[in-house]
């Protein structure tokens, strides 16, 4: 028995092995496998790898013996459960608790000469990597990034030199592979110093391509990435898949805002009217929803086609376009020019703020630029909302 197994056996709750999970009972493979309760005996090909208190992860196909003990080999195909959870996480559901255990995995039939691909322990990242490798056989070294993707984790320095060096040592990588080389995703470079990794672990860092789907081509060309593999993109689809999370984030703020809207809408000639709160509240709520859709969905999707480099201005422009299209409804709903003006200003400001918020999700905005933009436009947005609230109350009298 080697040292690693001893650690795991002596304190099974402290030390989770990759491919094993202690908490999520739902991921037991036999739980979503239909079958009669007292039917024929279930065959368990991985029975030898089962441990009391642990559940085998459904993405583990089998275990492979290495110089550092058994290593889980993962499947390339995503199952229905993986796909469903991908959609849920993309919508912001359980996004911060979607992890795999850090450590060493294999894919295909890896041998001591196979490459080591380093990645993060966000399951979306892990699933994306294992399903993008084509026919490549490799080792996958998962770092503990607290369930955050490679680039963001590198920015927050959880995908770091130290974590990489520790993980190389803890998984006894030198006993698994016959070379001294790890392939780190290029976007991990923000958190990693190739020179320090070599000094501390003896392993040389080779920066792989930005996208996992380029890894097979990168490997066949002798670990050389061409210019397109080294640059990030922000295609229509890449922007679109970000919008549910943007909406999810905005909804928290929108809930509180909706309450305020209903209260403000109730203020009128009779000091406060519940009828007014309901009638006018619904109208202001529809304005809020318009602003939300404009700033958190339409602006991200149409990003390169909207004039101006400033996101706040993009939001203002698109919000204005939305109000223009909805003008007849706004005039009718508000009942007066003042009320309509209040709604228009509100939509435009909400749209502007959420558009500016989207700078945090793009792969090309510099923090210095965002700071400059926020200093300029946060006061404008705040003032706009206050003016709008004043006009809305005034229009009730």
């Amino acid at each position: 028995m080697n040292k690693k197994q001893k650690i795991q056996d002596s304190d099974p709750f402290q030390k989770k092995g990759p491919g094993l999970s202690t908490c999520n009972v739902q991921i037991l493979p036999d739980m979503h496998m239909p079958g009669p309760a007292c039917g024929p005996e279930v065959t368990r090909p991985l029975a030898a790898n089962e441990k009391p208190g642990y559940a085998l992860c459904p993405y583990v196909d089998h275990f492979i013996d290495t110089g550092a003990g058994p290593v889980p080999v993962v499947r390339r195909e995503l199952d229905r459960w993986d796909r469903l959870s991908t959609i849920a996480v993309r919508c912001g559901i359980r996004r911060h608790r979607y992890t795999v255990s850090p450590g060493l995995y294999g894919i295909g039939s890896p041998d001591p000469d196979s490459e080591v691909l380093v990645t993060a322990n966000f399951k979306l990242t892990f699933d994306h990597l294992r399903s993008s490798l084509g026919r490549v056989s490799a080792w996958i070294l998962v770092l503990d990034t607290r369930g955050v993707n490679v680039w963001c984790a590198a920015g927050k320095k959880t995908f770091s030199t130290r974590e990489l060096v520790n993980r190389i040592q803890e998984s006894f990588l030198e006993k698994v592979v016959a070379h001294k080389r790890v392939i780190v995703p290029q976007l991990g470079a923000t958190g990693v110093s190739a020179r320090e990794v070599r000094e501390l672990s003896g392993f040389r860092v080779v920066y792989g391509p930005v996208r996992a789907c380029d890894i097979p081509a990168f490997l066949t060309s002798g670990r050389k990435a061409d210019k397109s593999m080294r640059q990030v993109t922000f295609s229509l689809f890449e922007r679109f898949v970000l919008t549910p999370v943007e909406l999810h984030g905005a909804l928290k703020m929108a809930g509180a805002a909706a309450l305020v809207l209903f209260v403000l809408s109730g203020i009128g000639p009779g000091i406060f009217s519940f009828h007014g709160a309901w009638e006018r509240g619904l109208i202001s709520l529809s304005a809020l929803v318009t602003g939300l859709v404009s700033g958190a969905v339409l602006t991200p999707v149409l990003l390169p086609y909207i004039p101006s480099k400033k996101f706040a201005v993009k939001g203002i422009l698109l919000g204005s376009l939305c109000t223009l299209l909805l003008l007849p409804f706004l005039l009718k709903g508000a009942g007066s020019m003042t009320g309509a003006a209040a709604l228009i200003i509100f939509i435009v400001m909400v749209s502007s703020h959420l558009a500016m918020n989207f700078t945090g999700a793009t792969p090309f905005t510099s923090p210095s630029g965002v700071e400059k933009e926020m200093k300029q436009y946060l006061p404008v947005q705040l003032a706009g909302v206050l003016v709008s609230a004043g006009l809305w109350i005034y229009s009730a009298f």
């Binding site: 680039w151 470079a189 990435a225 640059q231 990003l303 792969p363 090309f364 923090p367 965002v370």
Partner: protein
């Protein structure tokens, strides 16, 4: 990424060409092709594409590049 340009002249990227030893690592790690090698020295060819991610900074073996963004 030509369609995607953020505010110009705000990045805090600085390259000290005197210090550069020409290893070329910055051209590998930059996700926006800000650097290019000219006669064994790195040069900034697209300053306004810099998003201050710091990949070049953490990998330059001689500390020839720096970025110091504020809070963002």
């Amino acid at each position: 990424m030509e369609d995607f340009r953020y505010l110009a002249d705000v990045a805090t990227l600085v390259l000290d060409e005197q210090k550069c030893i020409g290893c070329g690592l910055c051209t590998q790690v930059c996700p926006h092709a800000v650097f290019e090698m000219h006669e064994n020295k790195a040069v900034i060819i697209d300053f306004n594409a810099c998003m201050e991610c710091g990949a070049c900074v953490s990998n330059c073996p001689v500390d020839a590049v720096s970025v110091c963004p504020g809070v963002g």
